[in-house]
Structures are given as C-alpha cells and as structure tokens.
Symmetry: C2
Subunit: 419 residues, 2 copies
Amino acid sequence: MNTSYCLRGSIVHTPLFGIMECIPDSYIVVINGRTAGLFSSLPLEYTDLPLYDYTGKIITPAFCDMHLHAPQYPMLGLGMDLQLLEWLNTYTFVTEQKFKDSEFARKVYSALAKKLVECGTTRVCMFSSIHYDATMILMEELENAGISGYVGKVNMDRNSPDYLLETTQESIEQTRRWIEESKKRFTHISPIITPRFTPSCTDELMEALGKFSQEYDLPIQSHLSENTDECAWVRELCPDCPQYWESYEKRGLFNSRTIMAHCVYSNFAEREAMRKHGVWVAHCPDSNSNLSSGIAPVRKMLREGLSVALGSDIAGGAEISMLKVVGQAIRVSKLRYLKSDKAEDFLTVAEALYLATSAGQEFFGEKAGFAVGNEFHALVFDDSALPPTDIINLQERMERLIYLADSSAIVDRFACKKL
Amino acid sequence: MNTSYCLRGSIVHTPLFGIMECIPDSYIVVINGRTAGLFSSLPLEYTDLPLYDYTGKIITPAFCDMHLHAPQYPMLGLGMDLQLLEWLNTYTFVTEQKFKDSEFARKVYSALAKKLVECGTTRVCMFSSIHYDATMILMEELENAGISGYVGKVNMDRNSPDYLLETTQESIEQTRRWIEESKKRFTHISPIITPRFTPSCTDELMEALGKFSQEYDLPIQSHLSENTDECAWVRELCPDCPQYWESYEKRGLFNSRTIMAHCVYSNFAEREAMRKHGVWVAHCPDSNSNLSSGIAPVRKMLREGLSVALGSDIAGGAEISMLKVVGQAIRVSKLRYLKSDKAEDFLTVAEALYLATSAGQEFFGEKAGFAVGNEFHALVFDDSALPPTDIINLQERMERLIYLADSSAIVDRFACKKL
C-alpha cells in the first residue's frame, strides 16, 4: 500500500482555535502517511508521486470523535424521552449485556466501524462494554476499517445490574489481560483506562485502574458531572470527596491524559481543578440535549484555558456524524449565549470545527490542522449536490457543508492510507 | 392517474396530540385520493383495487412544513453566525433580490420542489419574495411536483433595501394581480396574504392586505416576536401598539386563518390574544437556535390552548427535512424544560410528530392523522438500513426513524396520488 502521494484541491483546516484557514486550489504532500507540506503549486521533487486530483472539491482533516459508546450502537435513537439514570437502566445496560455474545458483537462492531468511516470519523476515543472478547473484537474491527485511537474495556463492580457486574477481582484481572493482549495485537488502536463512572466502581477498583494507567502508561476516560441526579448520587457515595472530580483524582485518574465526558455541571472549582491537572473535556452537545442534561459551559471552559474536544456520545447522542455534532455544538452554544444574557460567546463555525478535528488530534499527541508531521487523516468533500447558489467563497462552502452535508458528500477518506 | 388504491404495511400516525398510534401490518384504503379507512384485514369490497404492498415497512402521514422561505434556498446553511437583523441585511435580502430574474427563480424553485418531495414534505405554508413572476414560477413548480398548500408573494414597502422595496401602490396592485391570476391557474397551491413583518410594511399596505384577505377569503402568514431587537424595533415603529401582535390585529390580519412564525418572545398577554383570536404558531426550533433567537414556549402555548405547528424556516433553519426539525423541536424543548426548572414539560416524540403532521393538516382544514376523508398524504419508510438491533417494537422503530433517518429511508410518497 503506497502511503506517499499528493492531493490537489481546496484546503480548509483549523490550525488555531477560531481560525479556519481556507486555501483555494492547492496541494498537500503526504510522505509515509504523514503530512509533508501544503503548497500553492507542486514542488518539483514531488511530481513523481501519485496525484489525487480533487480540483473543485474540498479537503479537510477527518473527524475525531472523542466520546462514544460502541455497544450502544444498536440502541441509537431509542429511549430519548428518558433521562440519564432511567435511560441507563431501561435501555443501556440491557443493550450492553448482549455483548457477552461474540457473534452479536462482531455483527454490530463491523457495522459500526463501517459507519464511522462512512461519516468521516477516522479517530476515536471509545467505550466498549465490560466484556473482554467483545472489546477485542471491537478493536479488531476498528483497526481493520482503518480507524485509529483509543478503546476502553469498561469497568463496573458496583451499582450495576447483576448481568453487567464484575467482581472487583475479575474486573482487575480482565483489565490486565486486555491491556497486555491488545497492546500486542493492534497497531493503530490502543487501550485506554475506562472506569464507567464513579457510581459504577469501588474505590479498590479505581485504585487498581489508577495503577494500571501508570504501569502501562495509558490514558484515561470517564464521565463527569453530566446530570444533577448523578452529581447528587456521587456526593452520597463519596462523602470524602466534596467535589465529583476528586473521586477520580484521589486514585490517580485525573491528569493531562484524562478525558472526561460532559462536565455540564462542572462549577468554577471543578473547572479550575481540570485546568490545573490538564484534564480534557469531551463535550457532547447532542447527548446533553437528548437526555435533558443541559448545556456545558464550553466557551467559559475555553476562555479559562481548558482543553475541549467534541464527542458524539452515541447513543446518548443520536448523531454519529461529527458534521452533525459540530452543528449541534454551535446551536446549543447559542442558546447558552442567550441564557447568559450574551455574556458567554457562542461557538463560531471555525471554533466548532476546531473542536471536532484539531482538538482531538492534540489529545492524540498531534498538532492542529494539517500540520507538517501529523498523520494524514483527511476527507474530501464534493459540495456540488448542495442547493444551487452563486454567492459563495471557500469559507462559506465549508460552513454550508457543516450545516447541510451528510456522509454522501464525502467522496474520499484518508487515514494514513487511502481508505 | 389512478387515485384509488390500497396500501399494506405498518401504520404510525398521531390522531391526537401526544398519541402515536402504532398499528402493525394493516391496510389503508384510499378512494379518489382520500383516506377511506384503516383495516386490520382488507375488506372484500376493496380487493379489486391496486395494492401497494409495503409489508415490513412503515407508513406515516407526510410532513407539513408550516413556515419556510423559498427564495432563501440558495443560502441554506450560510451566515448562521449572525443574528436576525444583521443576517437579513447581509445575506437574505441580497439573495431574495436575485428572484427578479425568472431564469434563476426557475432553476432554484424546481430544485427546491424536488428536494421537498425527496424529504417527504408534501404540504407547505411558504413565503416567496416580492416578485410576481418568481412567485408564479414557485407555485407552478410546487404544483407540478405534487405539493399542496399556500404560497405568499411577500409585501415590503418600507425599511428594506432599495433593490427589494415596492411602493405601496405597486405592492397592492401586484398583490391583487397575483391573487387573481394564481387562483385561476393552480389547483393545489393557493395564495396566502404575506406581509413580511411589521417593520417591512406601512400601515396603508397592511390595511390593504387585511382587506384582500377578507375580499378573497385568504389565510395570512407573517412573523411575530422572533427576536428581542425586532420586538424593540416594532415598539418604536408602532407607538400606538403596546404589543407587537396589535400591529397585525388592527389591520384585520390576526384571526383563526393566520399563522405567525416564531413567537419566541410572546408573553402571556400576547399568547392570550393569539388564543382568543385563534391565531396559529409556526414553531421553528432550528432557526430559533441558529439565529440565536431563543426557545419558544411551545409546551406552555399548547397547555394554554394555542394551535402550534412546525416549520423548517429555511434558511434561518438549515434543516429542510421535517424529520430533522422534529428532532430539533424535541431537543430545544428539553433545554427549555431544564431552564424552567422542569416546570414546562418537554415535547415527546409523539407530540413533536403531531406538530409536524397532524397540526399542519388541521391548518389546511383536515383532521389529524390518517382520518377518514383526509387527502391522502403519506410516506413509506424502510428502516432496514438503520443500525442492527433486536429490541424494537413499532413505536421504537418510529422513534429511531425520527432521530436517524434521512430522506434515503423514504421509499415512496403519496400526495393524493403516488408521486
């Protein structure tokens, strides 16, 4: 498979938060799967490389989905009239337990991997279920589909239905086995430590997970301050932790390689703790609306210096396409802007696009946009089927794609190699 | 064209607000384009009619889009980072003036009509622009595509850019000509009186429009209380009207055949006036988020006894598919539910579906759902390409369609005849 080539087309990317750089009719050179440069005309030294000619089309970085639950794919769009804890009990846990069946897991996860690629998501930070086998199948299906990123076997040893409950010992043993095995077997998909959330994990398990994170040098993902009932429950469960975040911090699960989903109810003290520890926020606007959770103070977080990226949070979110999640992030930010009497700005198109591409790249250790040296993850959009218009520059074309395009507008995908 | 036939399939409709009736594997009989009955097995007398067999698929009423601007279709998804008055001046008026060119109008309106049918919208309550010719072209394209409903030539004789400003006399004359001509020429598309909004129309013009509505027995559409700046402007322009709605009422434009878009800032007194006069609300959740307008108090309106239906409001709304508008109506209602400290309920799937189908049918003088005697406007959905699942009844299948389907899931459309 040749991983060195050139692309010609109009380039749109977000090298800085708030800056959408639009470069009409240019070239990107990719050497060994990594961006080697952007050029207005093709340098002589690269003219022998294969050229993908996308003249008239738009080339953008591919999407990073920084929070989603793979085993909830079969219940996408279901139970949306419920709220978090009721929804977990009625739909989510019932669905997740089906993944003890490897055949079911294979069927769902191959469909999911295909769907993600179709939607232009080439990097993920993803929850699996508690099941070892299903988690390995998920990692394999993602890797085979060309997707990179992190997948976590979920840990749950308390406050969960019997059919989805591990003993502390089991959970620890299976987690070690999964880490060691998956580190050996996969190249582009790596393990991430994944306590479901504080209510699902005993202190003993949390402590073991914190140690695994250190021992194997692994990132961490979990949930934080999504819903008021959940926050109250954590206060009850952890009388020694005045704030929710401390239940993670005290076990070594709260650092610059941690990404916490939601943070809708993170007050200033919690946000300050996140900033100091370098903890990331996975903002999931669609899920937070669907489950009547609220609107996370994203603009405030960004101004305070927190790192934020976007997640679909399927199946709390019903939109698996990050194009749609970008649209929802903008919409809810405008409602929050109004609610704050216009004190908190809303997210612009350029800012939200950054959160869906560059921010995720940075969590994976890369630079923003099509920076030289980055793994080349890109999408090619054809916007010719959008409504007839004649008032439009490249920036407006990108805005239109965000609001109007579905995956059928994505005509090619790259993730180190051409997919 | 045969307009009598039977359909077999699973039927989902909303005969009452809040009730989604789900009837697995049944029959609908259509005689001369009107619903003659729903049957669990096909009565003998109808067995000679042509049968469309949609076994395994879902048959629902087609969508009514009760507020949209046809000449804004070329700017769909553009300028969304602006607010109402700025957006009107930067994008909207510039786009609308292009419709003085009939060739441009033909190109856009034929594409729009095709797109509406593709998305399953078979009835509309629609704004054109000020232009007579383009409005006739729009009506013709909709009628030819099989769409029914109301289209309004827009009136604007003040506070508008020169290139989009009529004299009062012109506006009155062109409106009379358009009403008379279009009443003659079209069967399924009729004229609706359409002052753009109070700031765009002098009292003299408003009075003439009120009289046209009476003389020709025509319904009325306009905008009301969308945005706080707009509300302040109307207070300034109409010192004799303590409330925005009175600027319409005093000219005979505020009655049970009036549908007002938005009403985000309609306070109790304004809502009470609407209720007493029987005025309808076209709720446009996507637009109200995009343009940072706010969230209309829809649940409150419904509880107070107002009539509400849904509109896409393209291009303030970026979603032309009413499936997506239903989803957005539910999402924003949940954010309003939270903002009200859970005092105002959110819209359930069943309720929002009613607003997108049955409510519009009622504005057009029909009964809710697939009532006997209604013009038969229906969609056939194939949900087999949605994610693999096995926990799903007919109600859940419909919920999933609302959240996940795009127009590719609509495999057939009926609007009196098969389209």
